[in-house]
Amino acid sequence: MSEIVSSADFQSKVLDSDQPVLVDFFATWCGPCKMIAPTLEEVAAEVEGRAKVYKVDIDQSQDIAVRYGVMSVPTLVVFEDGQPARQVVGVQFKQALLSLLG
């Protein structure tokens, strides 16, 4: 399962990453988030070595969610060079997430 990154680790794991990072802003109580979880794992396996996939629990890391203007779960954001580059909202299929990563 993709690692849940805490507020404390967000800088080092996501923003300082030398690879693109797909971040899944999710909530434990959100149905679509549960639904997308297996797809996210498949994506993580497929991009291993060239990109990373992390999850942010918006209830545990409200500061991060607020900083990136997350108002819907799941919101999936690709970070490149410490900046949010592209994002999609809602349940996605695998190909959409792969193309989001570029």
Binding site: A27, M35, I36, A37, P38, M71, S72, F93
Partner: protein, 320 residues
């Protein structure tokens, strides 16, 4: 986490070379029930699912009208249980989106984004998706104030003013849910009475922070700093417009069937796949089940009923 619904590559490619007995397109309640019945009838069922099993059911927070659960149940849990049950009887799943079908060839052909498959029979169970408002800026503001899932996103609007658009069960349930979190909820409905079931309407009575705007339609969305700031609504009875400041708009204006991949392969009626009592469509050996088909009531109960009937019809077709 290796999910149960993921079929290993080896199995997926094996399915490429064999003719599938019954290809079930869509793994919502109708599709999963169809797969269960097909397997129990002694045939092979392969479900094609573009996202994840469960369909709209999996994203429903709480289900309280599916018999057998007196206290209600989580939609995700119910969907997961249906999937496990179908899997237990041997149903397979291919996680690929079907983009086209050829129902005139023998066997029938199913094209996905990744390959082609052959099947003797097809059950179309692709369901429906939430309809959009169809106003400018809607796509740009999705996830920035425009939402199609109140139970998912309601929490972001705690203490704020929001609008719910629609007048059916989903809209009224959303308004009730949001009223507990939000300062103020406008329920914007284009008619002069709600279409929702009595049990919802009764719950809505006496909630004083919900204001219903009758005969009213959303015309425009306003954004400020990339987020929704308000909506312009028109009262079509009084021919007046007003601007309502709100930070969230929850769209619940019904569903539209997922039929684009058919590209005219089956006869439609009002946008839905035309099917008879036994699930038969305009093409021999192709059956339809669940929200995607013509029917009077679109519920989990009727979806699973459709699924079993379509499976029975498919089994009959295969033994002829």
């Amino acid at each position: 986490m290796e999910s149960k619904n993921h079929i290993p590559e080896s199995q997926a490619s094996k399915a490429c070379t064999d003719v599938i007995d019954v290809a079930v397109i869509g793994a919502g309640p109708a599709g999963m029930t169809a797969a269960l019945y097909v397997e129990r009838a002694g045939f092979d069922a392969v479900m094609f699912e573009r996202i994840a099993p469960g369909g709209q059911l999996a994203t429903t927070e709480h289900v309280e009208n599916y018999p057998g659960f007196p206290d209600g149940t989580s939609g995700f849990d119910l969907a997961f249980a249906m999937k496990q049950q179908a899997d237990n009887f041997g149903a397979k799943t291919i996680n690929e989106e079907v983009v086209a079908v050829d129902v005139t060839s023998t066997p029938k052909r199913i094209d996905t984004a990744f390959g082609s498959y052959e099947a003797s029979c097809i059950i179309v169970a692709t369901g429906a998706r939430p309809r959009k408002l169809g106003v400018p800026l809607e796509d740009e503001l999705a996830g920035k104030g425009v939402s199609y899932c109140a139970t998912c996103d309601g929490n972001f609007f705690r203490g704020k003013t929001v609008a719910v658009v629609g007048g059916g069960n989903t809209a009224v349930a959303d308004a009730i849910f949001l009223a507990r979190l939000c300062e103020k909820v406008y329920l914007v409905h284009r008619r002069d009475r709600l279409r929702a079931t009595a049990v919802y309407n009764k719950r809505l009575e006496g909630i004083d922070n919900v204001e219903i705007l009758w005969n009213t339609q959303v015309r425009r969305l306003f954004a400020d700093s990339g987020k929704l700031a308000g909506i312009e609504v028109e009262n079509t009875a009084e021919h007046s417009t007003q601007k309502l400041p709100c930070e969230g708009v929850f769209v619940a204006v019904g569903n539209e069937p997922n039929v684009e991949f058919l590209q005219g392969a089956l006869e439609l009626e009002g946008g839905y796949v035309k099917a008879d009592e036994t699930g038969k469509t305009s093409a021999a050996g192709v059956f339809a089940a669940g929200d995607v088909r013509t029917k009077a009531l679109r519920q989990i109960t009727t979806a699973v009923a459709d699924g079993s009937v379509a499976a029975e019809s498919a089994a009959e077709f295969l033994t002829l």
